[in-house]
Symmetry: C2
Subunit: 192 residues, 2 copies
DNA sequence: CGTGGCATGTAAGAGGTTACATGATTTC
DNA sequence: GAAATCATGTAACCTCTTACATGCCACG
């Protein structure tokens, strides 16, 4: 149900077309929410009908025309209401954990490859996040900036960084845990 | 799509009724997969029709009769096929992260209470997991067992423990990250 | 002249949530 | 006598995924 609100937040950060939103959901927003373009177009159409977003046709020379969406007053209010509503912590769905428990009834050694594959994907994502952090949130510490010129903090930027740090912490935790799982699997099937 | 397989794994660990499965999904299996009784009954019926599970009516004295499900050969094969199929890492859905980024366009201070509430829920879950670990997987280390009597490792038990350790690592990571988020929010709205 | 990116959609089907429904027994 | 637990289900609705569909432009 929060796809609506995720789109509103993204449009507040920067107005854009359905296509652009879909690309953002593959990147930064995808760290904590996924959506395909089909979902996004459907929700945009509904929110437009409800007056939550405004549309503006943008003709383009070399590329197909697009519709630029921005958040209307009603959308801002809807977002604000949702922000003040308590939400339940999200339900978890870890296919890999099902597989790990299932391995007891199959070949544990065969799972090693799959776990290693997942670990590699998490390592890739971690590298991607860290690169994004370095790019968007500047030099990590002890920077070469002139002392005595503190940059005024931008709340949006700070909060985006905090969310990204969550993604980084998640990937690190997963990599460590999968190390643990691999060690357990090797203990159970030492002949490898 | 993995609900089928999660149910098969659970039934392999121990046969039981739809009601019992629903309770397990509130507890141990719920660490990595959630399902309501409605979903479970629907899937059990379908798997029974497909010959993946066997049913046995169990009359009970003081309580309503129940149907005890167990995994049939075809179900075991289906599970094995799925275990050998590579799967994609699960897509993430973090409502709270949407809220955190949305707070830039609303009152960041108002989010503090919500984040604290979530942190408390994660602390409760962590305590619950740790209690379960102590109960089911024995004394943590340096136990009082007689030396020289190594217990033969039970693969199912070891793998269940590994999955539980993943849940514990996840909750610890979330608690730490929410500390980070709270510090960021306080930095942005110091008048609190 | 084919591949990939930009840009928007429809439709079918699977999966998940919420509400409704029943009925016995045990516990407070 | 009310509430909680055991036990099973139906129905409606919403959401999400997957496949299909179109068309232009840029690049090699």
């Amino acid at each position: 149900m929060a796809l609506d609100h995720a789109i509103l937040v993204s449009l507040l950060e920067k107005p854009g077309s359905g296509y652009e939103l879909a690309r953002r959901f593959e990147r930064s927003i995808g760290y904590f929410w996924t959506a395909t373009h089909q979902q996004i177009y459907r929700v945009l159409k509904r929110m437009e009908a409800d007056g939550w977003v405004d549309v503006r046709g943008v003709p383009q020379r070399t590329r197909p025309d697009k519709k630029e969406y921005s958040v209307a007053a009603a959308g801002r209010e809807a977002l604000s209401r949702w922000l003040h509503d308590p939400i339940e912590p999200e339900s978890v769905r870890h296919d890999l954990a099902v597989k790990i428990r299932g391995a007891a009834f199959d070949d544990p050694a065969a799972l090693v490859r799959e776990v290693e594959r997942h670990q590699r994907m998490h390592q890739d994502r971690l590298a991607h996040y860290l690169a994004g952090e370095a790019r968007d949130f500047g030099p990590p510490a002890g920077a070469t900036g002139a002392p005595g010129s503190p940059v005024p903090p931008d709340p949006g930027r700070e909060l985006q960084h905090a969310v990204l740090r969550g993604g980084i912490a998640y990937e690190r935790m997963m990599i460590d845990w999968l190390d643990d799982v691999l060690a357990t699997l090797h203990r159970l099937a030492p002949g490898r």
